[in-house]
Amino acid sequence: MGLTSTSDGTTQIITVHSDRIDAAMAIQFKEDMRAETEACADRVVLDLSGVEFIDSSGLGAIVASMKQLGLNRKLDLAGPQPVVEKVFRLTRMDTVFNLFATLDDALSEPDR
């Protein structure tokens, strides 16, 4: 489904190159995230700015990706478009994840 990743050692930035994360690609997303996060950065920032749509299956895949990271690593989300932000807000998953308006915001507040 297209993920690319850069890392400075402690923070890994994973960019989603798909306009949607939905039921048709949820399993692939989860698998790709597992492969991308095998390196040991303490913090993973998922750049969602290119994602124009997410459904509850896609949301579930992001939740599963966070669980895959284990207890000592965190997954933060950056750049959600309004529809993506809405799905997180309605399901109250915005209380579970840190959602940053932009990738720059996410990277300037690493300890949040």
Binding site: R20, D22, A23, A24, M25, F53, D55, S56, S57, L59, G60, A61, V63, A64, M66, K67, L71, P82, V83, K86, V87, L90, T91, R92, M93, T95, V96
Partner: protein, 149 residues
């Protein structure tokens, strides 16, 4: 591809697979926008439509050969009605689930990875109607454009 019954109707049928559903949902959203769906409702409609169609793909046709999903949209000045039909299994109890979401719990490992579909449909629609008729599921979703309309 998109037979049009009049200026404010939109119909689309597609095989009940995840990939076809994904494409179908995108087509319907684009078609509704072109026909004048108010932009402030576009996200709500797309999310609810996707959840309802995904339910058909994942549950109605579970353990049976997937057939088609038919979606008929009727756009009026003050509201949008969407009828989703399929020939799969009926909804449990012949009624739409009440949509109570799974609790988030307190630990990351307990977080639910699903169970939000009906909750989102209830949150985003003004009215939900379901009937089973002649071996068909007919789920109607209504979206009023004005809160007090």
């Amino acid at each position: 591809m998109e037979p049009i019954c009049n200026a404010t109707c939109l119909e689309l049928s597609f095989p009940a697979t995840e990939t076809e559903a994904s494409t179908g949902i995108a087509k319907l959203s684009a078609g509704l926008a072109k026909r004048g769906l108010p932009p402030h409702k576009a996200d709500d409609v797309k999310i609810a439509l996707a959840e309802a169609i995904n339910n058909v793909v994942e549950h109605a046709y579970m353990d049976v050969a997937p057939a088609g999903v038919q979606v008929t949209c009727r756009l009026d000045r003050n509201r949008l009605d969407i009828l989703i039909s399929d020939t799969g299994h009926p909804l449990p109890g012949y009624e739409p689930p009440d949509g109570t979401p799974a609790p988030l719990g307190t630990r990351i490992r307990d977080l639910p990875e699903g169970g939000f579909g009906w909750f989102l449909i209830h949150q985003l629609t003004s009215d939900i109607c379901y009937e089973r008729r002649d071996g068909c599921n007919r789920l109607s979703l209504r979206f009023n454009f004005e809160e007090d309309g």
